[in-house]
Amino acid sequence: MESVYQRSKALSAASTSFCPGCMHSTAVKLICEVSEELGIQDDLVIMAPIGCAVYLGVFVQFDSFGAPHGRPAATGTGFKRSNPDVPLILYQGDGDCASIGIAETLHAANRGEGFTVIMINNQVYGMTGGQAAPTTLPGQKTTTSQYGKITEDMGDVIKLAEIIASFNAPKYVTRQSLHTPKNILAAKKAIKKALEIQINEGGYSYVELMSSCPTNWKMDPKDTPKYMEEVVLKEFPVGDLKG
């Protein structure tokens, strides 16, 4: 018998520190598979965010660096401008990218900086215990919205992909999801397309990946795909928004 699917060689031997069923792991796996398929696993650099993915560099074979919470786009701008030939992924959570770092994120996108942002949208601040984020759904219970998020008090849902797609500079803006095999394959294709654009023609790309947080959603991981399909994706529809 021959193996027809195996662990990507771009993943390190370490087991990830993500909780069981967390789709951060899926995103890291896909990035590794794509880097292998594009033959860039020795060149690619990934920016690990402050958040659950802070140890990202330990799980992958390629190089990584960090930035203060919310500032990957600023740090990444410096890195990419001084190393224009090095493919760069900014791996960010929704709190990092759409809350504390929204200014850096939007200005970098509007300037068309030459990196790829991969944003993991799990609708909460995962690492710090599941507080509400700008991506938290109306009515969603979190540690800081215990009776459900009230949009009149806490603001409506910020849809970062739609905002970024309204700018002229970005070459590719898409939202995908990680809750079914079909969506995972589409997400992988989107990551590949974003990196190909970055490498072949240069320019900014943004891939938002709808993800789960079973621990902070207080949900059995097995129930998360159904909840994502029936509730989350109604608020955050998947598909290409630009390019």
Binding site: E2, V4, Y5, S8, S15, H24, K29, P181, P221, K222
Partner: protein
């Protein structure tokens, strides 16, 4: 002939692979790994078609598919 091998080092027993197996061959095993997770196992191996859906779904890249 086909089968899947689940690596106990990486499987966290989340069960995301159970529902995507068209034949329902995956379930929680009775052994626990070093991290304390009861990892998944495949039963009735002879029914596996190597469709890869479980491996694609597995967040932790714990599944190798053989054909």
């Amino acid at each position: 002939m086909a089968k899947v091998v689940i690596d106990p080092v990486y499987c966290k027993g989340c069960g995301l692979c159970f529902a995507v197996c068209p034949k329902g061959l995956l379930k929680t095993g009775d052994k626990v790994n070093a991290k304390g997770y009861a990892y998944a196992m495949q039963e009735n191996e002879e029914q596996c078609t190597a469709c890869k859906l479980c491996a694609i779904m597995c967040p932790d890249a714990a599944i190798t598919v053989y054909k």
